[in-house]
Symmetry: C2
């Protein structure tokens, strides 16, 4: 096609720079002008070439997003927030599922000349950090430990969220509480231990099992807790996925929830409300955190850690042991 | 950075064309050479510019994927297949959540000069088809009715899959069977009706309710069926999400599954095995279908409809009413 921006400008009776501003979602024209220009673009069949434009503007209007696993509900809800906000601001999103190849993907995104990169739920290792420093592209981390202060991050207070979940179980009269944890030694485990200690309950090793945040490890972790800690009445899981796995395990063993064992999840993904019974959980505002990541990414002055509030959503998996 | 492909070639003692072939994932060099060149690229800090390369090669090595909702498990499993296969072939994937703006997204992807577009689970409307014809970019449709024969598609036989699900319930001794359907008048509803007719069961309106494939509509649909069809013992749901909603509704009403009511889902997403009780469902090979989409897209001779086999996965939500 040989139709150029000048042809559009001429036919719409505006300057070429106005057409360019409209194409690039920049301000400085009336709504009426925008409609007129878009109509002409439609009539002439003009197709702006984003690649050539990228070379001139040094903007591709693409934001790269690295996620551990696309099929994960957790990442999915953050992605929904990222995508809708990106779309509103005229950006496209390129999503890459990283598995363990974060550094390769960072390089690929850099080669595509993305305008920024959002890393969802993956701690940055030294190799990736070196790559990020070399790239000179804005990077924001969402829902992962902010282990490099120069990289802005969005999070909740994981320690306090976990502490509050245990305090909630204690207040409901539970004193035999276990945890299906994720990453060893993380803030959620610290919160679990401190809350129990503050309630005068001694923490021992058999109270904690370790999973990988996914369903199967929740099934396995729950089976271990029943075995190692037979008097258990309450379980805190470091993800909803593992909590749903725990429910599945207890169903198979014929142990009723919450009559025999109470369960608290973490994240408030859509899996929590869909569980049988519906799952009591610690909510992270995942969608909002995704939205916020775009703003932090596009604001050149941004730095530091943005902490969102958490709260407990009460559904049907926790029973009060207090006498009424 | 002023390091060029020639600098890399010189230092690695190979031709510039070899370096280019390696960068573009084309064949024609030994594994040893590849490793040597990649080491030099690393040492020199050479960054190939994908945008400039895109202008020369007319290849961006980006595949655009349109999906109705990223957080959907159904789409997530197809996406996993697409992404892993794309990665193996040296392509990046740009995922766009379309809502109802399919045509706008097609245009955006075209502007980004993607090498091909995969549309997941969304019927093509005449507007989108017009856009696709104009674009001259390969398009493949996955898990949606192939309503334009010129566009290659990947599917299962939806009619037969639904027919088989009902036949399965009938063989288990059920004769009061309802359906929570998705799209009005689709092949799944035809399969439901024909299977019942062939079993000598008269189909009436109160046997079918309509949802939107998502959880809440499954809750609602199940509530309607209990109300309209009190003698019901078996329910076929047009998606696992709606089946999980049905389980949730029955739990709330204190109606046990499968003792009182049997449930069959559709898709075999990860939600099926995670349900309480684990859900019997019709499996679509979603991951494989996603993988296949990439191959169909990159093969210029491809056309027509590729049909994958379906099968029933028996878990714990169907009870046999036959005497043993």
């Amino acid at each position: 096609m040989s139709i150029t921006i000048k042809d559009v400008a001429k036919k719409a009776n505006v300057s070429a720079s106005t057409v360019s501003r409209i194409l690039n979602n920049l301000p400085g024209y009336s709504e009426e002008t925008r409609q007129k220009v878009e109509k002409v673009i439609e009539e002439l069949g003009y197709q702006p070439n984003a690649i050539a434009r990228g070379l001139i503007n040094r903007q591709t209007k693409i934001i790269g997003v690295l996620v551990p696993r696309v099929s994960d509900l957790f990442a999915g809800e953050i992605l929904a927030g990222i995508e809708e906000q990106a779309q509103d601001l005229g950006y496209s999103v390129m999503i890459c599922k990283t598995n363990n190849r974060t550094r390769d993907y960072l390089r690929t995104l850099y080669e595509k000349r993305v305008d920024g990169i959002i890393m969802v739920s993956g701690a940055i290792n030294p190799d990736s950090y070196k790559e990020i420093e070399m790239m000179n592209v804005p990077v924001v981390v969402v829902a992962a430990q902010p282990n490099y202060p120069k990289i802005p991050s969005i999070n909740i207070n994981e320690y306090q969220a976990s502490y509050d979940a245990i305090k909630y179980l204690v207040e409901k009269g539970h004193s035999h509480i276990g945890m299906i944890a994720g990453t060893k030694g993380d803030d959620r485990i610290k919160g679990f231990k401190d809350a129990l200690n503050d309630a005068g309950i001694t923490v021992t090793d058999h109270m904690i099992t370790y999973g990988d945040y996914h369903f199967d490890s929740g099934v396995q972790g729950m089976a271990e807790l029943i075995e190692n800690y037979p008097s258990i009445t309450g379980v805190f899981c470091a993800s909803d996925e593992m909590a749903v796995g725990a429910l599945s395990c207890l169903y198979k063993h014929g142990i009723s929830v919450p009559e025999k064992i109470s369960i608290v999840g973490f994240d408030n993904t859509s899996a929590a409300k869909k569980a049988v019974p519906p799952l009591t959980t610690v909510a992270q505002p995942l969608y909002d955190m995704g939205e916020s990541a775009i703003h932090l990414l596009l604001d050149p002055s941004s730095e530091g850690n943005k902490v969102y509030p958490h709260h407990i959503i009460e559904r049907d998996t926790v029973r009060s042991l207090r006498r009424k």
